[in-house]
């Protein structure tokens, strides 16, 4: 036995591809739903009404409008020239913030599950024509270490390869809000922000969820290792924080384990409630939950995905 046991170190990182081919095919049929979109035009229907072939309504012609959208029949029935307006498919900006701190990366199953979720979301975004950017934190140089923005299904394989090579980073403090601020300063006016983390941060989760609503839709995916939920050890132990190194001596009995689980559940309930109050979506994923049963049905329930 090593000097320090890790809670739940059952699998290694080299278990094959993050997503199987069958899973990829299934994900291709899904698309992300974005409740608000930017001005950019892409392959996703926008809410803003602009001159378009997909007729919804008329409006008076204004200089600069495409003449091909003039409804001559309507112009004949009315006094003025009317232009057909409709929703134009637009591309969404999808940003993934991937937590690679020791509290995640030191647990292979948890680390792999987090990357599987990231891979699935990224694959769906690229397949749906959205612009995908990914940022791993903590990072010494976020501009270089992240996945630069890319569009199109042709980038999907490269995205999977990048995720497969992503490694954990040592850190004594895990701060997410600086990464979010950096992302917002560098990115466009808004988009979908997906945060993949275990939510063990060295800051108040409230600060993380205080992302400007309306321009950014936030999906908070918290990944939990099975051993975190069901600690298998008891008796006198010394617990050591994987990041800060702080230690704590305990003499655990079954009643303590129950109290611990209740405390853990209470914490995630608080995170979920806080996310809902801010208009965000929170997903809790365990390390041993199948991707289809954990991610897809929940996103369907949240109306985040549509077939």
């Amino acid at each position: 036995m090593s000097a320090i046991d890790k809670a739940g170190s059952a699998t290694n990182d080299d278990e094959g591809p993050l997503l199987e081919e069958a899973t990829l095919r299934r994900l291709e049929r899904l698309s992300l739903s974005v409740r608000s979109v930017s001005d950019a035009v892409g392959g996703r229907p926008g809410i803003r009404r602009v001159p378009a072939a997909d007729f919804i309504d008329h409006r008076p012609y204004s200089p600069g409008d495409d003449r091909r959208h003039i409804d001559w029949h309507a112009a004949a029935r009315h006094d003025g020239i009317l232009v057909k307006v409709g929703r134009v498919p637009q591309a969404a900006d999808v940003h993934l913030l991937i937590d690679r701190s020791p509290s995640v990366s030191a647990w292979p199953a948890k680390w792999r599950q987090l990357r599987r979720v990231a891979a699935a979301l990224g694959w769906m975004a690229l397949s749906g024509g959205d612009r995908l950017a990914a940022h791993a934190f903590p990072a010494l140089d976020p501009r270089r270490e992240g996945w630069s923005q890319a569009v199109g299904a042709g980038q999907a394989r490269r995205w999977l390869a990048w995720l497969s090579t992503l490694r954990g980073a040592p850190s004594r403090r895990t701060l997410l809000s600086p990464a979010i601020r950096d992302l917002q300063s560098r990115s466009g006016p808004g988009g979908l922000l997906v945060i993949l983390t275990d939510a063990w941060l060295d800051e108040d989760i409230d600060r993380v969820l205080a992302v400007r609503q309306g321009r950014w839709n936030l999906l908070l995916c918290t990944v939990l290792d099975r051993s975190e939920w069901d600690p298998e050890w008891s008796g006198p132990v010394m617990l050591q924080d994987s990041e800060s190194g702080l230690t704590m001596e305990l003499d655990l009995n079954p009643a303590d384990q129950t109290a611990y689980r209740q405390q853990l559940l209470r914490r995630y309930e608080q995170i979920a409630a806080l996310a809902r109050s801010r208009g965000h979506i929170h997903v809790l994923i365990s390390s041993d939950t199948p991707l289809e049963t954990a991610l897809v049905p929940y996103l369907q329930l949240q109306a985040a995905l549509r077939r």
């Binding site: 690679r100 647990w107 132990v237 010394m238 050591q240 109290a259 853990l264 914490r267």
Partner: protein, 548 residues
Amino acid sequence: MTPQLALPWALGLLAVLPAILWLHRRRQPARRILVPSLGPWRIFDQVPSPSRRQFAGGWLLIAHLLAGLGLAVGASGLRLTRPGGPLAIILDASLSMGAAGRWDEAREAVNRLAAGREGPISLIILDERPRVLVRRSAEAGALDAATRDLPAPSGPETSGAPDLAGALSQAASLVADGDIVVVSDGALDLPALGATGSEVARISLLRIGAAVDNWGIIAVRLSRFDGTPQLFVKMAGRAASAERRRLRITADGRLLTDVLLPLPTAGEHQILLPLVGAETVSRLTVSLAGQDALPADDVWVLDAPMAGRPVQLVGASARLTRMLAGWPDLRVLPTGPGRMFAAENLALSIIAGGAPLGPWPSGPILFIGGEGATDTAQPLVWRGDLPPWLPHPGLPGLWVRSQALAGAEAPMSLATAGDRSVASLRVRDGRRIVTLALDPDAPELSVSRSWPRLLRWSIDLAMSGHQEALGQPSDAFKADDARARETDLHRLGRGWTETAPATSRITWPAPWRLAAALALGALLADGLLRGRRPARRAGAVPPTTAGP
């Protein structure tokens, strides 16, 4: 009963208690678990429960603290129960106790013994004449007050062997069935318990000091033999290596002899020196040159060495008494017939008639007279084959009236008159017994000039001796050895039950101390072994896991 600490400084061992706490802080649980975050576990910091919030170490820590406390208190000599009963302390005040701080150590030991005792305590000073300094005192500070100003033994005047038997006898009369502790540096033979007057007192020795390198003069005797004074000097001691030291003899400040002596590493050395012209000196000083641990025993002073040696005269006529009293180096103590001193400090007992009521004197004896004296005098004839070591007395023309020897026991006949042996010598128990079987009051002797010379020759023969005659070198002066000055030769005497200061001042049971010491040793070993893998302190060390 008030608690007392024999060694208060030993309470400094209480410093092990913080050390124990520190070692327990270093202790690590059997398993270290790396968790993503201590966050959810913090509830156990805020909600203590008896099963979980016990101090790290728990009962083991309590056991260690108790062990440390027990060790400190036990070593400090906390007296929970004090032994009772009368106690007599015999403090050796012989010369060697003045060496190398032994006297202060002895006084401290006396006070420690007294501090740990309930019941009457007596203190007896042991020297040539033992005396009771404190008699059955129940006051705690009585011994301290009595010994505070007691001078350390020093100087050549402190001579003579300590009378241990007398001291024990006095102690036994004070304690009855109590305890007698002799505080000494050890060169004392325990006399038979019967000599102490008590068969039930428990006698033990509390030994003071350690053996040191020292040579000393333990016996000096100036005797006259065949008209020439001879000085006998006996030394004893030990040293790390054999050495050569000078022996100087001065008479009234005038150097008589300076001899270089080869002294062995340990044991005794004796020398016999003729001292011509020493008869008239008033003070003879014998000194051993050089330095050692006890300078006081390097000097021996004899005042009026040739005068005043006590000789008891038993049953002698007035004429014989006057004649013997005329010699200046003899202090004649005439006694009546049948009355005799058995004292050991007599140089000679001249018995001219009668027998003792008690034991015979232990020193040399000169018998004069016998039974059935002849009516006519006969010439004294010396044996032709006298031993070469025996100076021929000469004495021509001496006529004597011989008498029958009383209780002759294979004597060595020296001279005859007629068919009777008149002068004879025998050695019994290391002492010389000379017999002149003649009538000392015969009229022809009153006008003879040879008779006083024969008498003096016989006295010198009895009071001195030669190794050729006696077989053992030290036997010649065995009587003097009994009075020899005790010096720094500290082989432990015979017959003692030694006691240690610890047993008398610490009543904490030894198994407790042993158990406490073992527990502490185990803790230290455990702490050191675990110390090879030091625990992280909060926030002091970065995490060891860098991720996959």
